[in-house]
Amino acid sequence: MTSTPDKPSQPAASDAVVIQNLCRHYHMGEALIRAVDGVSFQVAAGDFVALLGASGSGKSSLLNLMAGLDRPTSGEVVVQGRDLAQLSRPELATHRLRTVGMVFQSFNLIPSMTLMENVELPMRFAEVDRGKRNDLAREALARVGLTARMNHRPSELSGGEQQRASLARALINRPQVLLADEPTGNLDSRNGTEIMNFIREFNQTLGMTIIMVTHERGLAERYARRMIFLADGKITGDELTGPAPAASTTLGEPR
């Protein structure tokens, strides 16, 4: 189901993400920037993909397009069966709320809220019952080992703890796809490893599809099953790091 640069496969129904000839151009003054320029690939459900490239290669732009934070100039970006280019603004918000979860390099927790409140916030937008929210948020924080810290504000925590909290927040509405933008970029190697282990755990036990942007090839090789290389908005390489993500290898595979 994974594609290789030499032999692109046809999109399959089991793909979590299907990208077809995707372009995202924008103007910066006189210059036309081709951040994403004719990209096509598919990601199978339950796969763990790393997007690699130098800064400015377009990997973050690509991630934003899959997240529904940005709209393509042309082409298709289908996530869990829906073409984001065709969705209205409210539908895109629902996509971000329920289909994908996001983790950022700079954590992006809201500084005025405690960890508990930060994790609870997506449930407010999803209009989850007030009675259930507390338990769910507590559970999510327990999963990333932050039970003791849940009433602290982000500024009182280490980077690793903040990123763990943001992982808990990304998971709270049970999305099928986790989009991670340099999740270890601001962390030392010990904390980075911890975060990557959590992400791998989500991939394996929850069957979440992971798409991670990084510029560290070593990290990608260690955790991802597939690496897509980008340069100047185009795919320059697509390789597997290990055995193909056969459904038999993990428990909790979706479907």
Partner: protein
């Protein structure tokens, strides 16, 4: 997002920059306070004026006269309604019928006559009027010396101060220079002898023809017209008898006989029942005899006191339907009310100016908040907040500031009114006048002000909220 979550998030966001938001809210409070204070002043003045007008007895009274009396109250009265000759007589049954109309408190005949009063054997000619017991509470008697009549039939009199001066043999001075207490002291408790012509009914049949001959007393005369044989068949006869009545002076009033205040154009007042029982010959008696003679004496005018000025128009219409002329000063009070509506609008506009300035403060605060919280808005959008959620959140913040500012403002405005009222009353008391409530804040003004404040704040939040909602999350997240 649910309303509870919205308000909770809005409140916590407002708490985050508590100084700035408090200052903005105080701005709204001042705006609302000025609005409340201004409109309260307008309403208070209006109530003060209408209280004064009501106690003057002018605006709850309808004057009724018979159409037989050719002097109508206006052209319209002369053109509409039955012809004078066919209209009913304004006699005792008519008075009772009027008194039984809905919302009528009382209907009393207007009895006044010119007669001679002797004080210490010196004659004085003046107008005497009957006064109903209900007029005791009129503010015309505010400055009265002595007391009101002990009963409705007591042989007692209240003098107007100018007449009191005349009795004392003083020359009349300008009204304001006369001290009522001064002239009252030697007169209270003294006796007056009133001489008057009594109308005495005779049996209607047989002796009718003898009417003219039955003159008793020196001043007697007959009203019977011998040239009308047809009507003289049913006509009642009466004689005019000279009588006298001793009256005790119980009060001297301050009111001015020329003023428009109530039935004050006479100079001596006696209890109404007493006046009626005297059966003093009225000028209208002669005319009635000519038109349609009856056994009942007719009244020149009947004053109808209505329970509330609100009903005056209804009563006036009902009386007109009965075939009488009716007149009230409600038209004049309509103009007064119109004036106060205009005054209220102007005060409201001036009061709202401060609120308009405050609303710019809200716009400013929220635009600043949008800029400051760009990244936060980006985060919220990234984790699934829709444009509508973000817009509602800023709306809620504006609304909370508006309602809080409205509540504080109403309290502030009310306090300002009370303080100025208190100060004004200190001054009023120094002028030896009764204290007045100049400021009045009715509950509907409180509710409307808070709603208005919330509305203005929400309108001010419109632009900042739209700006926040439109924010591009990719750029917002890049913003540090």
């Amino acid at each position: 997002m649910k309303l509870y979550d919205l308000s909770e998030l809005a409140l916590r966001n407002l708490r985050e920059s508590v100084l700035r938001n408090s200052l903005t809210t105080i701005g709204i409070s001042v705006g609302v306070a000025s609005l409340v204070a201004m409109v309260s002043l307008g309403i208070g003045l209006q109530q003060l004026a209408s209280r004064r007008l009501q106690s003057s007895g002018l605006f709850d009274t309808v004057m009724v006269s018979s159409r037989r009396d050719l002097r109508g109250f206006g052209r319209e009265d002369e053109r509409n309604g039955p012809a004078p000759a066919e209209s009913p007589a304004l006699d005792e049954p008519a008075r009772q019928a009027i008194e039984h109309l809905p919302n009528v408190a009382e209907a009393y005949p207007d009895i006044r006559f010119i007669t001679e009063l002797r004080y210490q054997d010196k004659p004085h000619l003046t107008t005497v009027a009957g006064l109903p017991a209900s007029s005791k509470n009129m503010d015309a008697f505010d400055g009265m010396q002595g007391s009101f009549f002990s009963s409705d039939t007591a042989p007692e009199a209240i003098l107007q101060k100018a007449f009191a001066e005349e009795l004392l043999g003083r020359t009349h001075e300008a009204d304001d220079n006369v001290n009522v207490a001064d002239v009252a002291k030697p007169l209270l408790g003294q006796e007056l002898v009133m001489r008057y012509a009594q109308r005495e009914s005779s049996p209607p049949t047989g002796e009718a023809a003898a009417g003219p001959a039955r003159a008793s007393g020196g001043q007697a005369s007959s009203g019977q017209a011998p040239s009308e044989p047809a009507s003289s068949q049913q006509a009642a006869a009466y004689s005019v008898v000279s009588r006298q009545q001793t009256l005790k002076i119980v009060g001297v009033s301050d009111l001015d006989p020329e003023s428009m205040r109530g039935p004050a154009r006479a100079r001596v007042f006696i209890p109404l029942k007493l006046a009626q029982n005297l059966h003093v010959m009225q000028p209208s008696d002669l005319r009635d005899t000519a038109l349609a003679p009856g056994s009942q004496p007719a009244y020149t005018n009947v004053s109808v006191r209505v329970q509330s000025p609100r009903y005056v128009q209804n009563v006036e219409d009902a009386v007109k339907k009965m075939g009488f002329n009716a007149f009230s000063l409600i038209d004049a009070s309509r103009n007064v009310r119109q004036f106060f509506v205009v005054l209220d609008i102007f005060l409201g506009i001036f009061g709202s100016l401060a609120l308009a300035v405050a609303s710019i403060g809200i716009v400013n605060t929220l635009v600043m908040a949008v800029l400051e919280r760009r990244r936060e808005i980006g985060i919220m959008k990234a984790i699934g907040a829709g444009d509508a959620d973000v817009r509602k959140l800023f709306f809620a913040e504006a609304g909370v500031m508006g309602i809080a500012g409205g509540c504080v403002g109403v309290l502030l405005g009310w306090t300002i009114g009370q303080v100025i009222n208190f100060g004004a009353n200190i001054w009023i008391r120094k002028q030896h006048l009764p204290p007045e409530q100049i400021w009045s804040t009715p509950w509907w003004l409180v509710v409307l002000s808070i709603l208005f404040s919330a509305l203005v704040s929400l309108l001010s939040g419109l632009y900042p909220a739209a700006r926040a909602a439109r924010l591009d999350p990719v750029q917002a997240l890049r913003y540090e």
